[in-house]
Subunit: 416 residues, 2 copies
């Protein structure tokens, strides 16, 4: 009989968002009047319209498919050159890196890439992730067998969890034990923290001297407002020998439903076979795309490329400014109501400390019951997220403003 | 240092299409006048415009993304219900199967699915494929370690190759040794052969009594013109307990550049752990999509659904009729010139036997040199493809007609 991938059976049930839904549903069942009133600042999905530049480019691309002369069939598995060139020009060369077109791989988004990258890695690598963290990094490693079993207290055996706390300014500390693959996310989901040039330099130097691979998730780089913060890890010298970078058009261009992103896998990057032979990851990643994919949808790639046009860049800036104004309003509202807030200055997420003695889920319940507002309990992202909640800027302005008003009336004493 | 997936290093270099390119380039270098004159019936990529129904639906979907009220963010990872319902109604219920919406998983195409399906299978399954065969089935298994090394004579150790020859009417025979996963493709690429109801019943019965999984690739089902030929394996009783079906909008709807397809993974389908616990593949496949994907692009799914509208179905029929008329012309031209032709009656590919004593590559060279036409040498699809070449219907009619004319003047004696 056909054998299944037993690693899947180690996966703990997805808990966070189903539990949020369960609590909201239960609350609305007893408070139906709150239904229309509910404000959701819990999700990481964008709400504002897709930039016109992207829409017009996509429609033109669809029209081209309507004529035999301009029809496009199978595209290049690694992505169209015009998009790879635009990425290099605007995301890399403009930041002073030496990354080249052939090091860019177009995908349908970062979530897919996080999993696909593991296909080219071998069994037996030890991974390290920040805590709290976007759960996909670990779940995809569970599925490929790079972890042990789920632990009763949360997390998986064999994974090094690196605490991000207010004590270390939400910057994970260098591992003291041996690690092969490290996930870094900056600007961070969920904490909204950013890695400075000094932080990233420390990590790149560590990875180079420890022959480790950094998977750098920069899905939120468009929200960086502090000019001193690197947007790409390749702004750090030597990163092209130790890092893969994941980028997404989901949050800057509003592409969560359109689906496009990319990875950068430099040609200088190497891994090893068990017997010590060095292998270029770029060769494996290229072969992966050639064998497993026929490339990303033609109109989608045209839409993504249009985000780099003059109009597109203006619209992306307006979109990200809109969300950054949202997060400013949310951050300041939390602060005025006496809460301590982290993040939200170079990221669309504010990471809010619950009042003393209040747990993540208690804060969630109080805000739902008293304010009819939904946030994301920090403990859902890992053990170090306990005692925090995440507020997302991805909402219409009117909802954000009402959220801010209602925050003033929350009586935190009620839950302690 | 990070370990790489060493199975990738077993992959033999992709040989067929690069070698075709090399020979064409070399010929044109010495015969530049043949450049404009060259006719390519070698590739499997569509050439005719995308149906209007799909284009209009895609543009409407893009417009919807331009308004906050109709904006769509993250979609369901398994696909939108409207598309899954249309598939069930038109591809399954209409054929009398009992497959349900929740058994349909929308993807960006069959090539991706062929590889992704292996993610939910364990190490140690023995696979069987037809010979000749679409190379992706085996290559993806090589990459996950389900095969041994490449063999000097072609193919990989540990894979059971099932010959498809004129002696067995290009229907693979049931394996006599133990096999866990069998790939069947009907209508077949490259031979254009189809599996009858009797053939499929034999295979389903075998799979059920041997606890094997059939991966049934029906990417070309829209080209079936003989009413007695099953379009879906689920038309055979019991197939829902032993088969996954892959479908694509690439060839029926001209979606090779748009990218959409689907798999059907029935809830009744089971695999096993090493210690004999039975596991539903549907659960694993669901978890795979939830963790690895945010679903297929919104406008793309809208375009695919439009292929099932009344207009869409009419356009798909016109498109496939166009290619079927092409293949009729090509088939008859080959026959008039004295060649023996298989396939091409329920498939867009004709599988042509080379004249006695002529090899696949010799036939390729003669046709290129004398007729300035490009075909695909059968040996590129496996050892049993030697002595054949594939002619593809995916060309504009004018090219097909010129191809047919030129075939008359080929002097086969020149190459023996």
């Amino acid at each position: 009989m056909v054998l299944v991938n037993e690693h899947y059976l180690k996966l703990a049930a997805g808990y966070l968002f189903p539990e949020i839904d369960r609590r909201v549903t239960a609350f609305l069942a007893t408070h139906p009047e709150a239904g229309e009133d509910l404000i959701n600042c819990g999700v990481g999905d964008v709400t504002e319209p897709l930039p016109e530049a992207a829409r017009e480019a996509m429609k033109r691309a669809v029209d081209e498919l309507g004529n035999r002369e301009t029809f496009r069939g199978y595209g290049p598995p690694l992505g169209h050159d015009f998009l790879r060139s635009a990425i290099i020009e605007h995301d890399q060369r403009s930041r002073g890196t030496s990354i080249r077109e052939e090091e860019v791989f177009i995908s349908d988004g970062s979530k897919g890439d996080a999993g696909s990258l593991l296909e080219i890695l071998g069994a037996g690598n030890r991974i390290a992730v920040a805590d709290p963290v976007y759960p996909v990094y670990v779940d995809t490693n569970v599925m490929t067998g790079a972890t042990g079993d789920a632990m009763p207290e949360g997390g998986y055996e064999g994974v090094l969890y690196m605490p991000m706390t207010r004590e270390n300014d939400f910057v994970p500390e260098l591992p003291e034990s041996s690690v092969d693959v490290v996930y870094l996310c900056s600007p961070n989901n969920p904490t909204g923290a950013v890695l400075t040039r000094a932080d990233l330099t420390k990590w790149v130097d560590w990875a180079r001297s420890n022959d480790a691979l950094i998977i750098f998730d920069a899905a939120y780089e468009a929200f960086i407002r502090d000019d001193s913060i690197p947007h790409s890890i390749y702004e750090i010298e030597g990163a092209e020998t130790c890092a893969i970078e994941c980028r997404s058009f989901s949050k800057n261009g509003g592409f969560t439903g359109v689906r496009c992103g990319y990875t950068i896998c430099p040609t200088a990057l190497e891994g090893t076979t068990r017997d010590g032979r060095r292998v270029k990851l770029h060769d494996l990643w290229t072969r992966r795309w050639q064998t497993r994919s026929n490339g990303v949808s033609w109109p989608v790639q045209c839409g993504a490329a249009a985000l780099y046009s003059e109009q597109g860049r203006r619209e992306v800036r307006m979109l990200t400014d809109y969300y950054m104004e949202n997060v400013r309003i949310l951050r300041e509202a939390c602060e005025s109501s006496g809460l301590t807030v982290f993040g939200g200055r170079n990221a669309p997420y504010a990471w809010v400390a619950c009042p003393d003695g209040v747990s993540s889920w208690q804060a969630f319940d109080v805000m739902l019951e008293q304010g009819h507002v939904v946030v994301t309990p920090g403990c859902g992202f890992g053990r170090c997220g306990e005692g925090y909640f995440r507020v997302s800027a991805f909402s219409p302005r009117s909802a954000v403003e009402r959220f801010a008003e209602r925050l003033e009336s929350i009586q935190w004493l009620a839950c302690t």
